[in-house]
């Protein structure tokens, strides 16, 4: 079995909208996969199913051998400790500094203080924010806030990093920098990356595997692919 595997997955919301229809997908450990498609095509639903924020209506979703679809609610937190999540809107706690935003994850897992500090500093150094440990989110630019979000996602050394439009709120130059950080996590830490985006430039430049979703259906899967506007539209 692949590291991540979706088998005949459907997601139909209560209002009758089908977000994902009969999706089958395999992702190997260490892969870097872009999930592309138009707004409301089902990208985010697919991403959310990986960390069990959404539950499939039918089918199975395996992450690291665990069937996420059948996971009991009280076990979900264990799954999320193995997955790093990067959000479009960063989701930082506004009253905590960059250091505290990253450290609280490990604190809440019950790590010892002496173990937390080096790991948090490592993670923030990896994203290039060693100098901003004591800055609050409102004192940082969008790109810096996203870096903190990435540092928080990788601080527990997850096996997979799930990114939901991480460059959606950033300008092209900052987006490039963020992508460099994410790519380095893939290469340096051998972390599997799944990233939903509709940023053509990034997809076309990076030449990674591309999965195309249209109206909830997987319509294309290309190794070293590019963003084909016709297909995604």
């Amino acid at each position: 079995m692949s590291f991540i595997e979706l088998q005949n997955v459907y997601k139909i919301y209560k209002n009758g909208v089908t977000a994902i229809a009969n999706m089958n997908l395999k992702i190997k450990k260490g892969d870097f996969v872009f999930v592309i498609g138009q707004t409301a095509c089902g990208k985010s639903t697919l991403i959310k199913m990986l960390y069990r924020e959404e539950k499939p209506t039918k089918g199975d979703v395996y992450v690291g051998g665990v069937n996420v679809a059948r996971l009991k609610n009280n076990k979900v937190y264990k799954l999320r400790r193995k997955i790093g999540i990067v959000f479009q809107d960063y989701k930082l706690l506004p009253k905590l500094t960059a250091y505290e935003n990253v450290a609280f994850v490990l604190e809440s897992y019950g790590y010892k203080e002496e173990d937390i500090k080096p790991r948090v500093i490592d993670a923030l150094t990896h994203v290039g924010l060693k100098e901003k440990l004591r800055s609050y989110p409102h004192e940082m630019s969008g790109g810096e806030q996203q870096r903190v979000c990435i540092a928080r996602a990788i601080v527990n050394k997850p096996k997979v990093l799930v990114c939901d439009e991480p460059t959606g709120n950033l300008d092209p130059d900052t987006s490039k920098e963020i992508m460099k950080v994410i790519e380095s996590i893939n290469t340096d830490l051998d972390t599997t990356i799944i990233m939903a985006t509709h940023d053509k430039d990034i997809v076309n430049r990076m030449k990674k595997r591309v999965v195309v979703i249209k109206n909830g259906v997987l319509v294309g899967d290309y190794e070293k692919g590019s963003y084909k506007v016709d297909e995604a539209a």
């Binding site: 264990k78 999320r80 809440s108 019950g110």
Partner: protein, 299 residues
Amino acid sequence: MKPLRILGRGFSNAVKSVFRNLNLSIASISCIVITLLIVAFAIILSSNVNNFTTDIENDLTIVTFVNKDATDEDIEALKENIEALPNIEKYEYRSKDDIKNSMQNENDTFNKIMSEWEEGENPLQACFVITVKNVEDIGETATTIENLENIDIVKYGEGMVEELLSIFDVVKKVMIVAVIALIFVTAFLISNTIKITIYSRKNEIDIMRLVGTSNAVIKLPFIFEGLILGIIGSIIPILCTIYGYVFFYDKMGGVMFTDIITLIQPYNFVFKVSILLLIIGAVVGMFGSYKAVRKYLKI
């Protein structure tokens, strides 16, 4: 020790959070202060009403007049018979001369008249003043005493006593229900205020959930925070209870309007009420937070 570490962090995060969300903390504390002040007032009032009715109940006695021609042996036998009855707490025998003396001491007119009585002349009747154990069975006990030999008249305020007891019973029950209802209203108000303040921190809870924090660890600082707010919120009502009641007691001289209605002594009583307020504040604060945060933890 991981659980202890998590517990310690939960507490220190709760303390930080109280100050970081100072406005919300003040809102919650104000609500707790106001509602607990009302609860404190209700507890003090109901305790005093309870105390007053119990005092009156304890003062209820049966007065039994003995036949004028009863001999000393008859009276001794009567004492034994009364003593043997199950509902008797204590009794006091007052001979004709005792009654005469006390009446003479109480009133000058009586004194004048009675002092003119010749030696051995005393038309008064000796009596027993009996206190019962269970005031609700006072009527039954009176009837039993009435049937004893050499008993002339038995008086215990028939009719009025029963009415008084049933009124007291209703008053006590109403007071207890009122205090319990008030505590529930307090719990509801406090828990809702905390719920509103936690709503503004829904984002924070969401983030914790998404990064893999277990529900128990998410709840912990909120529960501690509720506890801290509850304890802080109960300080002012406790101070008002202690100083306010002592001041009121001294000002009123320990009685309310008339000497019959005595107030409960402040010492001990105010501390008991204070502990109760502290417990209500802490428990309701904790429970309110727990309920509120649980709502946002559903996946």
